[in-house]
C-alpha cells in the first residue's frame, strides 16, 4: 500500500514545516486571551448585577438569572428595536425562563463551557483562517520552491501524489480540531477550575416561523455537546481545507493563495448581509459555516437553512474543489 507511505511523507513534511507550529502558537495566545477576557467579564457582570439587586451572595443564580430575564424584558419595551433584534431578545428570554423552570444554572462557567463556546464562536471565521493557513502551502509552496518537480518525476502517477496530499490535509484538519480542543481545555481548566462535562445543556431550540419551538428540546451532557460542536467544526475544516487545496493548485504563490481564500471568506459574509434575499446567497459556502448555531437555536444570517442543508452545501463545495484540483493538477505543465 504505497499510499500509506506517501501520505506519511506528506504528513511528515507538514509537521516539520514551521507552519503548523505557528498555528499552535496562535491558538495558545488567542485562547489564553479569550479565557482571560471571558473570566474577567463574567466576574464583573455577576458582581454588577448582584450589587444592583442587593444580594451579597453572588452565587444565588436564580436571583441573578431572574434579573437578567427582567432586563431582557425591559429591553423589549423599547419600541424602536428592529423586529429581528426583538426576536432574538425574545428567544433569549424564553431560554432563560426555561432554565429557571428546569432548574439549570446558566451562570456558572466551566472549562467545558468555554470549550464549546470557543468552537461556536470560532467556527465561521477563526477556524477557517487556521485551516487556510495550514492548507494553502500544500501545493503552492512546492511550486514556488521547485520541489514539486521531485514529486512529479517519480514513478508515481500525478493523481496519487495529489491524493496523498489530500489525505494528509484531511488528517491534519482533524489534528487542528483536536489541538483546539486540547489547548482550550488546558487553558480554560487552569483559568476556570471547573470541568463541567456532566453539566446538562439544553439544545434543540428551533426557530420555526419566527417563534421559539421547544418541541424538540433535549438535554445532553456538556461533554456530548462539546463533541457535537467540535465535529461540526471538523466538517467546516474539512470543506475549507479542500477549497484551499484547490486554490493552492491553481495559484503558484502561497500568499496569493491565502489572500484569495480569505477574501472569499470575508467578502462572502458581507455579501450575505447585504443581499440576504437573493436565492443564490444560500448556496454560497460562506453563509453556511455557522453550523453550531443550529444546535443553540441562534438565528442564521440567511433564511431557510437547516443543518443538513448547510452540511450538504459545504460538502458539495468541497467535492467540486477536489474535482477541479485533480483536473488541473493532472494536466498542468510545470514550466518552472
Amino acid at each position: 500500500m504505497k499510499l500509506y507511505s506517501l501520505v506519511g511523507n506528506e504528513v511528515f513534511k507538514i509537521i516539520m514545516k514551521k507552519r503548523l507550529w505557528v498555528i499552535v502558537g496562535i491558538l495558545i495566545i488567542l485562547i489564553g486571551l479569550f479565557a482571560y477576557g471571558e473570566h474577567y467579564t463574567r466576574e464583573r457582570t455577576q458582581s454588577q448585577i448582584a450589587e444592583r439587586i442587593g444580594i451579597d451572595d453572588v452565587d444565588d443564580w436564580r436571583e441573578i438569572t431572574n434579573q437578567q430575564l427582567m432586563d431582557l424584558e425591559r429591553r423589549l419595551d423599547n419600541p424602536f428595536i428592529p423586529e429581528e433584534g426583538r426576536a432574538s431578545i425574545q428567544v433569549r428570554a424564553e431560554q432563560l425562563r426555561y432554565y429557571l423552570s428546569e432548574d439549570i444554572n446558566p451562570t456558572t462557567f466551566s472549562a467545558a463551557q468555554f470549550m464549546s463556546n470557543f468552537m461556536e464562536q470560532s467556527i465561521f471565521l477563526f477556524l477557517p483562517l487556521l485551516i487556510i493557513l495550514l492548507a494553502s502551502d500544500i501545493v503552492s509552496k512546492e511550486s514556488t520552491t521547485g520541489t514539486i518537480k521531485l514529486l512529479m518525476t517519480r514513478p508515481v502517477p500525478r493523481w496519487k501524489i495529489l491524493t496523498s496530499k489530500l489525505l494528509a490535509l484531511t488528517i491534519l484538519e482533524m489534528i487542528v480540531i483536536l489541538l483546539m480542543a486540547t489547548i482550550a481545555l488546558g487553558i480554560s481548566y487552569i483559568t476556570f477550575g471547573q470541568g463541567g462535562f456532566k453539566e446538562p445543556v439544553i439544545t434543540g431550540f428551533r426557530i420555526v416561523n419566527g417563534e421559539l419551538d421547544v418541541s424538540n428540546i433535549q438535554t445532553v451532557s456538556r461533554g456530548t455537546y462539546i463533541l457535537m460542536t467540535y465535529s461540526l467544526g471538523y466538517i467546516v475544516a474539512f470543506s475549507i481545507g479542500k477549497m484551499a487545496l484547490m486554490v493552492s493548485v491553481l495559484v503558484k504563490s502561497t500568499a496569493a493563495s491565502i489572500g484569495i481564500m480569505m477574501s472569499s471568506l470575508i467578502g462572502g459574509t458581507f455579501l450575505s448581509f447585504f443581499i440576504s434575499d437573493w436565492e443564490i446567497t444560500r448556496y454560497l459556502f460562506n453563509v453556511n459555516l455557522r453550523l453550531t448555531d443550529f444546535l443553540s437555536g441562534d438565528l442564521q444570517p440567511v433564511e431557510g437553512l437547516s443543518l443538513s442543508f448547510s452540511i450538504s452545501i459545504l460538502l458539495l463545495w468541497a467535492l467540486a474543489a477536489t474535482v477541479v484540483a485533480f483536473g488541473v493538477f493532472s494536466y498542468k505543465d510545470i514550466l518552472d
Partner: protein, 272 residues
C-alpha cells in the same frame, strides 16, 4: 532520540486521528438528531409573527366580537405553560359561554410601564384597532411598582409619594386616550396581587393596596370600565399558582384570573 521521535510522527498522527474518528462520527449523528425535523423555515425571525400580530388582516365582519389586550407581561401570559395567559384563556371561555367567534389581538409587551403604554397609545395603527374593538383587557402597573421594592425606609417615603402621583396622572392620561378613540368599548382592568401574604413585608403590602385603590377609584369613575381584583384569588394559594420565576402566575394562576373575568363580563355581552 530525536530520530526515533521523527520516525514516530506519522504513525502517532494517524493513530490519534483513527481514535478520534468514532467520537466525531458520534458527534455528527447527535447533531443531526438534535436538529431533526427542522423545516425549511428554520432560522429566521419572521419579526412580524413574533412581535405583533399584524393588524393588516382583512376587515373582519362586524358580527365577530373583537377583543384587544394591552399591558405588561401579565397580559402577555408570561409564566403560563400553555402560553395563553389570562387573555387567551378568557377569550376561550368567552367564546364557549357566548357561542360566538371572538377575534383576539394582543399588543402587550414584557416589562411595560404605564408611561410606555401612553407612548403606545400614540401609535396610529393601535388607535385604529382600539376604535374597532368591542372589549379591551388591560394589565399594567406591576412594573412601575416593582421599581419601589428593596428601598430603604427613608428612600421609600419620597419615592412612593412621587410614584403614586405620577401613576395617577398617567392612568388618567391612558384612560382619556382610550375613551377619545372609542367612547363605548368595554375596558377590563386587572388589579395587582401580592407576592408575599405572610405579613412580614407590611410596608410593601401597604403600597400595593394603595396602588390598587388608586386604580379602583379612577376606574369606577368611568362608564363601561370594570376593575377585576386578583388580590384575594392568590391569597391562600400563592405557592401553587405562581410560576418558577416567583413573579408571574402559572397556568392555574391564569386560569383563576380568567374564570373571574369571564364570570364578571359574560352578563355584559348577554344583555346585548
Amino acid at each position: 532520540m530525536l530520530k526515533s521521535i521523527k520516525k514516530a510522527i506519522w504513525p502517532i498522527t494517524l493513530a490519534s486521528v483513527i481514535i478520534a474518528l468514532p467520537f466525531f462520527i458520534f458527534g455528527i449523528f447527535q447533531s443531526f438528531d438534535v436538529t431533526r425535523g427542522a423545516g425549511d423555515n428554520n432560522g429566521v425571525a419572521d419579526g412580524e409573527n413574533l412581535v405583533e400580530n399584524s393588524p393588516e388582516e382583512e376587515e373582519v365582519e362586524n358580527e365577530d366580537v373583537y377583543v384587544l389586550t394591552l399591558g405588561d407581561s401579565l397580559a402577555r401570559g408570561t409564566g403560563d405553560e400553555e402560553n395563553l395567559g389570562f387573555a387567551g384563556r378568557t377569550v376561550e371561555k368567552l367564546e364557549q359561554a357566548l357561542g360566538v367567534p371572538i377575534r383576539h389581538e394582543n399588543y402587550s409587551l414584557e416589562g411595560l410601564q404605564i408611561s410606555e403604554m401612553i407612548e403606545q397609545l400614540k401609535n396610529e395603527e393601535l388607535l385604529g384597532e382600539i376604535q374597532k374593538a368591542d372589549m379591551i383587557m388591560m394589565s399594567i402597573g406591576g412594573n412601575d411598582l416593582r421599581g419601589l421594592r428593596g428601598l430603604s425606609d427613608n428612600e421609600r417615603m419620597n419615592a412612593v409619594q412621587e410614584a403614586e402621583n405620577r401613576y395617577e396622572e398617567d392612568l388618567d392620561e391612558a384612560i382619556r386616550r382610550i375613551r377619545e378613540e372609542n367612547p363605548e368599548v368595554l375596558v377590563v382592568f386587572l388589579g395587582l396581587y401580592n407576592l408575599d401574604y405572610s405579613g412580614e413585608n407590611l410596608e410593601e403590602t401597604e403600597i400595593l393596596l394603595r396602588w390598587n385603590s388608586i386604580t379602583y377609584q379612577r376606574i369606577e369613575e368611568e362608564g363601561n370600565f370594570v376593575w377585576i381584583p386578583t388580590y384575594d384569588l392568590f391569597q391562600f394559594r400563592l405557592s401553587n399558582t405562581l410560576s418558577p420565576d416567583q413573579l408571574h402566575p402559572n397556568g392555574s394562576g391564569y386560569e383563576m384570573i380568567a374564570n373571574r373575568i369571564t364570570e364578571v363580563i359574560t352578563p355584559y355581552f348577554q344583555s346585548d
